[in-house]
């Protein structure tokens, strides 16, 4: 390990000194780094010097056990502005990958993609579109997908047209001490099992964080997500996701945290404040994505001619325990694009509540009250509304006491690299 590290470090030194000496073209730098990534042996540590390096093609790594390390997320910058080929900035398909202290800017598509890796560490990485919120930015800044044992910490994501820090179809995940701002969604935890999201700041996004399952993806059944000790504040940046990004385009501007089509979620000790549509949004897939899409996909003619409905998918939300949060100032100015939000706000006298629940329950759960086990406890003076989506809002419930209950605390996620 130490031997290979020395050798590679010398290589890096040689390259950096030649960089300093003869001012190589951006193409030379691009070539050296890509060659290093291709030729790296397992165990290699590739050190990058300070500086802003331009790349016009995706950089990629497929060798296991490689560490890519810069001198700081503001000091070592991989810039993909004007990218000519490839849809990602850095694309990694390898196990035991670590990236530290690097900034990734202005990629055509996603900033950092890690696909199918086990034991991955993303630490002090900044992925950003420097022009700020813009529909032509890439969808995801930090995009690990199909990973196992994943740690993302002390990182920054800005400007993503879908999610700043996204984790999808993964298991055993820790996201901590990160900052996501000026993205459409700050964080997304999608179709993922066993995730701890804590000590993060989510602010000035369209929505702070989404925890949910979607159909038609290979991995289904995401569950067991803890969201705690986060600051989810002032997420009111107008939604700038293009329509083609699908449901995210319809995420209400001013959403704090939304939980959709998932079970076993624990939300506690967060500060969730001043998100103008709603601070906490608990919903069925139909409420979030809309009936029409699902009905089209499920219609007999569609099923006959086209892909069948995803039978593995379950759209209900259940067993969500929201407790000991500071929740306030939500719903002051609901997204004017979303008619149903406007209607509800009007009915409530202009504002929406801090916590909004669609009240959709599976008849299979039986007739007892709160069969979805949505439990709200010790959330200060937060206001609540179950808007009774099943009956066209005929029997709304505003008394949060009807949902005063507790669930067993979920266990912490344990991954080797986050001790």
């Amino acid at each position: 390990m130490s031997a290979s590290r020395t050798v590679l470090f010398l290589t890096t030194l040689a390259i950096s000194s030649s960089l300093a000496a003869c001012k190589p073209t951006p193409a030379d730098i691009q070539k050296h780094l890509q060659e290093q990534l291709i030729s790296a042996k397992p165990g290699a540590v590739i050190e990058l010097p300070e500086g802003k390096f331009h790349f016009d093609r995706t950089l990629s790594l497929t060798v296991d056990k490689v560490t890519l390390r810069g001198k700081g997320m503001e000091k070592t910058i991989l810039s993909f502005a004007g990218q000519k080929e490839g849809a990602q900035g850095l694309l990694v398909k390898a196990n035991d990958f670590t990236i530290e202290d690097i900034g990734i800017e202005d990629s055509a598509g996603d900033g950092l993609t890690v696909q199918g890796g086990s034991n991955v560490i993303i630490r002090r990485v900044r992925a950003e579109w420097t022009r700020g919120a813009n529909e032509n930015n890439g969808p995801y800044a930090i995009y690990p997908v199909e990973c196992k044992n994943l740690l993302v910490e002390d990182s920054v994501a800005r400007g993503a047209a879908d999610a700043g820090i996204y984790v999808g179809q993964s298991e055993n995940v820790v996201l901590r001490r990160n900052r996501a701002e000026y993205n459409v969604d700050g964080f997304e935890v999608e179709n993922t099992e066993n995730a701890d999201v804590y000590d993060n700041l989510m602010t000035h996004n369209t929505g702070g964080i989404g925890v949910f399952n979607l159909p038609n993806l290979p991995r289904q059944g995401g569950k067991h997500v803890r969201v705690y000790n986060n600051q989810i504040i002032d997420n009111n940046t107008p939604n700038f996701a293009p329509k083609s990004l699908g449901p995210i385009h319809d995420l209400p501007t001013g959403t704090g945290i939304y939980v959709m089509a998932i079970k076993d979620v624990e939300i506690f000790k967060n500060r969730i404040q001043n998100n103008n549509t709603v601070n906490v949004f608990l919903i069925h897939y139909k409420t979030g994505i809309g009936d029409s899409v699902q009905e089209t996909a499920a219609s007999p003619i569609t099923q006959q001619i086209f892909a069948p409905e995803d039978k593995r998918y379950y759209g209900f939300t259940q067993q969500v325990y929201v407790h000991d949060n500071e929740i306030s100032g939500g719903g002051k100015s609901p997204d004017s694009r979303i008619a149903v939000m406007q209607t509800m706000a009007k009915a409530m006298g202009g504002s929406l509540t801090d916590i909004l629940y669609d009240g959709l329950i599976d008849p299979a759960w039986g007739k007892k009250a709160n069969s979805g086990q949505i439990c709200l406890e010790n959330n200060g003076s937060s206001t609540f509304l179950n808007f009774d989506a099943a009956n066209n809002m005929k029997h709304p419930i505003t008394d949060a006491k009807k949902y005063a209950c507790s669930l067993r605390a979920l266990s912490a996620v344990s991954i080797p690299q986050a001790k």
Binding site: I38, Q115, Y140, P218, K243, S292, T302, A307
Partner: protein, 335 residues
């Protein structure tokens, strides 16, 4: 396309009959791989087209991947006494020592110029992908992990072609050739080689276990070989399915373009597309203008285009085929 493929075919088929002092093909089964393509002795002449060495046999695919209108010259070689095992679905099981070579050439004057030759070599540790880049005088090609882009220009009946051809680097090879982190060939499947080539490979001893009859894919641009549906499915199989299948680079999208496993995303929201104007669904049956599939095929913008790598120009004829196919489906809206 001007083709010099057939020029050397009779010679190539005279397998093993050559009694000259010609060096035989040499295969390298582990790193370091030779820096020069000539070290493999795959060709005996390169300046006026590739003349294959003994037992190096050319093949073609019924419906190939589009690569900027490049002419592609494919050859296969195996060690004496070894042969591939036939498989009905997917690529054959090739023996250690197999070399698949694919050379890319573009029109130049009245002839063609070789740009790159990609070798896929079945080593003891699995397949290795090796890109060799040709020199100007077409006498030698050199292994380059990260080749430089090459500007290409020519004019033909369809007009002027002028773009920068991006030669994939070693990792980019993997983006298409990877399944569950294993590098695999893509082209040599029974259905895409067709019956004639399968019979030929069997005859020369390169293939065992082939049945007398099996299903071929249609030739994408020959209506006499299949219906619109069959030709479109063949096109999508060979231009999209290497990534869009379980275990492939785009397996996580849930879209599967493999022939016989077809799940193309009718009325499906894309899960990680970029800005596709105001389009919302992968395919809106009956409405190509509202289908992201068509939009992506017709684009050369890095985050919009599909495939993501390997082309810098639009395959106009392919787009026309897929447009017709989407139009032929009923339903005209997904919501």
């Amino acid at each position: 396309m001007k083709s010099f493929r057939h020029l050397w075919l009779p010679l190539a088929l005279a397998l093993g009959s050559c009694g000259s002092a010609q060096k035989e093909v040499k295969v390298f089964l582990s790193e370091p791989f030779p820096q020069k393509l000539s070290a493999w002795h795959l060709y005996t002449e390169t300046r006026k087209g590739l003349k294959p060495n003994n037992r190096v046999i050319p093949y073609s695919l019924r419906t190939p991947l589009f690569s900027d209108y490049a002419s592609k010259y494919r050859f296969v070689w195996m060690r004496e006494g070894t042969s591939a095992q036939y498989r009905d679905d997917g690529v054959f099981e090739f023996p250690v020592g197999t070399i698949l070579s694919k050379s890319f050439a573009f029109p130049s004057g009245n002839s063609e110029k070789l740009i790159e030759t990609r070798l896929l070599v079945r080593t003891r540790a699995g397949w290795a992908a090796l890109p060799y880049i040709w020199n100007d005088s077409q006498t030698e090609a050199t292994l380059q992990l990260v080749p430089d882009p090459v500007p290409v220009k020519w004019t033909d009946a369809d007009g002027r072609h002028d773009f920068t051809y991006q030669i994939p680097n070693v990792n980019e090879c993997r983006e298409c050739h990877d399944n569950n982190k294993t590098l695999l060939p893509i082209g040599p499947k029974a259905r895409n080689l067709g019956k004639e080539l399968v019979a030929l490979w069997t005859r020369v001893g390169y293939l065992k276990g082939a049945p007398n009859d099996f299903a071929e894919v249609a030739v994408w641009n020959k209506p006499e070989t299949g219906s619109l549906d069959e030709r479109a499915l063949a096109y999508l199989d060979n231009n999209c399915a290497h990534c869009h299948q379980p275990g492939g680079t785009a397996g996580y999208t849930g879209v599967d373009f493999r022939y016989g496993h077809f799940q193309p995303g009718y009325c499906k929201h894309p899960n990680s597309a970029g800005n596709m104007r105001d389009l919302r669904f992968d395919i809106v049956p009956g409405n190509p203008d509202q289908s992201i599939l068509v939009y992506r095929l017709a684009s050369v913008a890095p985050k919009v285009m599909m495939p993501q790598i390997g082309r810098a120009s639009v395959h106009a004829e392919g787009v026309t085929l897929i447009r017709q196919w989407v139009s032929s489906k009923s339903l005209s809206s997904c919501q």
